[in-house]
C-alpha cells in the first residue's frame, strides 16, 4: 500500500493550524478595533449643515439654555429641533442680512422647515426616551459631550449598545441634581466631593439596575 501522508505532513498540519488560529485572532482584533473606531461610531465627525449653526456661540458665548431651543426634552421622548420661529426671536433683529442666515429667512418666508443633518441618531429598532433621563438627572453632557465647545455639532459618545448598558448596569454614579441637567461643566461638582450623591439618589428614586438591562426596555 502506498503512503498517503508524506514525511512532512505533520509539519504542514501544525503550520496550518497555527496560521488559522492567528488568522482568527487578527480578524477578531481588527473587528474589535473597527467597531470601536470613530469611522463606525461617527464620534467626533461633523456634517455639512444648511446653516453653520454654532452651539459654541449660542450656548458657550451667549449662554442660552438648551431648553430655549430643544423644548420637548423634559416632556417627551424627543428633544426636538427648534422651529424657525425660535431662531427668529433673536434673528429678526440680529444679523438680519448675514448670508449665513439666508436659509433661515427663506424657511420663514416659505414655511418649509430647515433640513438639519442628523448627528446623534440611533437605529430605528432602538427605543430611546429623553424625558426619563432628564427627570432622573442624567445631564446632557454625559451623552452629548461639551456641546458648548462645538462650533459644529458632532457626536461625543459611540451610542452603541454597550455604552448604554455600561450606565444602565450601574446608573448611580452618573446622576446629578435634576434641576441642573443642562449644566455643561461639572468639574467644580466633582472637586466638591459629591461622590455619594448619585448612589444615594438612585436608591431614593428606586431605580432597579437589574430591570434596566431587559432587552424589551430598548427593543420594543
Amino acid at each position: 500500500m502506498p503512503q498517503i501522508f508524506t514525511a512532512s505532513a505533520d509539519t504542514w498540519l501544525r503550520a496550518g493550524v497555527l496560521l488559522a488560529a492567528m488568522g482568527v485572532l487578527v480578524t477578531g482584533l481588527l473587528w474589535d478595533g473597527a467597531i470601536g473606531s470613530s469611522y463606525i461610531t461617527a464620534v467626533g465627525w461633523v456634517r455639512d449643515q444648511p446653516v453653520p449653526f454654532s452651539h459654541k456661540h449660542h450656548v458657550g458665548d451667549v449662554g442660552i439654555d438648551c431648553r430655549y431651543c430643544h423644548t420637548t426634552v423634559e416632556t417627551g421622548p424627543h428633544a426636538g429641533f427648534p422651529a424657525t420661529h425660535t431662531c427668529m426671536t433673536c434673528h429678526s433683529q440680529l444679523w438680519t442680512s448675514a448670508p449665513a442666515l439666508a436659509p433661515v429667512r427663506d424657511s420663514l418666508a416659505t414655511g418649509t422647515p430647515i433640513r438639519w443633518q442628523r448627528v446623534a441618531r440611533l437605529p430605528d429598532y432602538v427605543y430611546f426616551n429623553h424625558s426619563i433621563h432628564v427627570a432622573r438627572g442624567v445631564p446632557c453632557v454625559t451623552c452629548h459631550g461639551r456641546v458648548d465647545q462645538m462650533p459644529l455639532m458632532m457626536r461625543a459618545q459611540p451610542f452603541q449598545m454597550r455604552w448604554c448598558l455600561d450606565c444602565h448596569r450601574d446608573p448611580g454614579p452618573h446622576l446629578r441634581p435634576p434641576d441642573q441637567v443642562t449644566r455643561m461643566d461639572w468639574r467644580a461638582w466633582d472637586r466638591e466631593g459629591h461622590a455619594d450623591y448619585g448612589p444615594h439618589q438612585a436608591a431614593l428614586l428606586g431605580i432597579k439596575p437589574e430591570r434596566m438591562t431587559d432587552c424589551t426596555l430598548c427593543h420594543r
Partner: protein, 190 residues
C-alpha cells in the same frame, strides 16, 4: 440529484436573506422627518384649522386662573425665567442680557415703576402674545408656567424695590449695618 441540491441551496439562501432586511432605516416616519404622503412634505402635521385639542380647555382655564402663590410656584417661575427670559432681560430683570449686548434692541427694565405697578396678568399677556420686537413665547411656555414666571418677576421686583420699612426689624438692622460699613469703605481717607 444535482438539481435538487441546487434547489435546496436556493431555498436556504432565500430564507437567510430575509434576515438581511435593513432594520436600521425602517419604512416609518420620524418625528421631525419628511412625510411624502402629505402635501407639505412634513411627517409632523399641524392640526387642521379649527381643531380643538383635548387639553385645550384645561390650557385655557390655566391661562384664566391665577394660581395661588407658593414657594414651588416661585421655584418653577425662576427656572423658566432663567431659560426663556434671561438671555435678554438678564437674571435680575434689568434688561442688560447677553443678547442685547450683541445688538438686539434693549428691553425695558422690569423694575420700571410702570411695570412694577402693572398687574401680574400683564406679564402673562406679554408672554402669550409678545410685545413690540419681542416675539410671543406661547409655543414654548405653557400657560401655568406663564403665571409662574409672572410670580417670579414680582419676586424680582420686590427684592430690588422693597421699602426698607417692610423688612423685619433684624433684617433692617443688618441692612443699615451693611450700608454704614459700605459708607466707611467708600469714605475716602480716614
Amino acid at each position: 440529484m444535482r438539481y435538487l441540491l441546487l434547489l435546496a441551496l436556493c431555498a436556504v439562501l432565500i430564507i437567510l436573506l430575509v434576515g438581511c432586511d435593513e432594520m436600521t432605516h425602517q419604512p416609518r416616519y420620524q418625528a421631525a422627518g419628511p412625510g411624502r404622503l402629505f402635501p407639505d412634505g412634513k411627517a409632523m402635521q399641524a392640526p387642521p384649522a379649527g381643531a380643538v385639542a383635548q387639553d385645550d380647555p384645561a390650557r385655557a382655564a390655566a391661562l384664566d386662573r391665577r394660581p395661588a402663590m407658593s414657594a414651588a410656584l416661585l421655584a418653577r417661575g425662576r427656572q423658566r425665567y432663567d431659560i426663556y427670559c434671561s438671555p435678554c432681560h438678564d437674571v435680575a430683570g434689568t434688561g442688560h442680557g447677553a443678547v442685547p449686548a450683541r445688538g438686539f434692541p434693549a428691553p425695558p427694565s422690569l423694575h420700571e415703576p410702570r411695570l412694577v405697578q402693572a398687574p401680574s396678568r400683564y406679564f402673562v399677556e406679554v408672554i402669550t402674545s409678545g410685545h413690540g420686537v419681542m416675539y410671543s413665547y406661547a409655543d414654548r411656555v405653557a400657560p401655568a408656567d406663564r403665571w409662574a414666571i409672572a410670580a417670579y418677576i414680582r419676586a424680582l421686583q420686590l427684592r430690588r424695590d422693597a421699602p426698607a420699612d417692610a423688612l423685619e426689624a433684624t433684617d433692617r438692622a443688618k441692612l443699615y449695618g451693611a450700608k454704614l460699613g459700605g459708607a466707611k469703605l467708600d469714605g475716602g481717607p480716614p
